[in-house]
Symmetry: C2
């Protein structure tokens, strides 16, 4: 599958490397083609190249959005025509302007995912993977028990495409819970403040939640 | 222990019944002493009585606050002198004025727990149990696996008192995570939007989260 990964930070490179390993045609996208982290990734990767955001997205069936929340809208705006494209929104609207822990720049009555879907109405946005740290996103079997992630999006076919990719990362079908339409991303984005506190208490980002129900 | 439980709804009655069963001297508090749910509870309970908020809190060492978030501040204001009292804040600032799912009336840059601590600076407020449904609060072993709850509060001794009560409910020591000061309640209150969506997807309120970490 032709896949663009926008963002050369830890999340983008981690996902891009995993996708290359799964045999996809991966282009990492950055604002410029001389991004050092992106060039280093491309030099190490067996296949895959560094492109501009627009170059990476051209003809891509799926676009992973892995930039800081504050840049999400501008980056999708620079990505060219996204009509019909499945956009996997991994971002969180973290606002570090008042220090740590960050607050959210959008919360409660809307979410970053909804803002992006509204700004790019023909893109098929699916929010997922924003609830845990990047090593676990692409290798969930690192944890010694089952654990869960979530899907939010308005397009059932797009969610099915994303679900298959997640399963190829190692997520078991029952571990991926479809919460409903894109507004349900409010819930997963608002999980971040608790995640950040738990990171402090547990002393590792390598944790996630398992939903335990009564039998 | 002399304990007041403020609020005659499901949460208050559930907690009051559990405390009676554990041998505590429990007074259920309501705005008026003729509250029907409260009278019915007192008639059924082996011990325990229905009082006004102030009557219930008089001489109580611990006060459970189990009212709707919108009433939390007024109810504590009607509770009389709370200086030094351990107040277990089980509330959530849910705002149903725009329908379902509710939004939060306070979030992100503050929390209801912080507002209460600021309004009643000599009370020792501990936020806990607001992250799961009331049958599980007082009987966590209903679930077939370990699962976790959280403590937020500024007073270590008060948190220790609450921890012991939680353990008497059946919570295992390692299942009760101390997140830190009262501001960490932002995280657990902001968990509610995701909890509400999961309630819809799972079809039962009898679930909770287990934190799974890398070994």
């Amino acid at each position: 599958m032709k896949i663009a990964v926008l963002g050369t930070g830890d999340v983008g490179r981690q996902i891009a490397t995993r996708l290359v390993g799964l045999g996809h045609e991966v282009r990492l996208g950055s604002r410029t083609r001389d991004n050092p982290a992106g060039l280093a990734w491309a030099a190490e990767a067996e296949t895959g190249s560094l492109e501009t955001f627009e170059g990476a997205c051209r003809e891509s069936e799926v676009v992973f959005l892995c930039v800081r929340g504050e840049h999400a809208r501008a980056v999708l705006g620079a990505a060219g025509n996204l009509d019909g494209t499945v956009v996997v929104d991994v971002t969180n609207p973290l606002d570090f302007s008042s220090g740590f822990p960050p607050t959210l720049s959008v919360a409660n009555t809307e979410s970053l995912a909804e803002q992006l879907q509204e700004a790019f109405p023909a893109a098929r946005i699916v929010k997922t993977l924003n609830t845990l740290s990047n090593p676990l996103m692409v290798d969930p079997r690192q944890l010694p028990d089952e654990h869960h992630i979530f899907l939010s999006g308005n397009d059932a076919d797009a969610k099915a495409v994303v679900r298959r990719l997640l399963e190829s990362f190692g997520w078991r079908p029952h571990e991926v819970l479809d919460l409903g339409d894109i507004s349900t991303a409010r819930g997963t984005e608002m999980w971040l403040p608790l995640w950040l506190r738990l990171y402090g208490v547990l002393g590792t980002p390598l944790f996630n939640i398992k939903l335990v129900r009564a039998t």
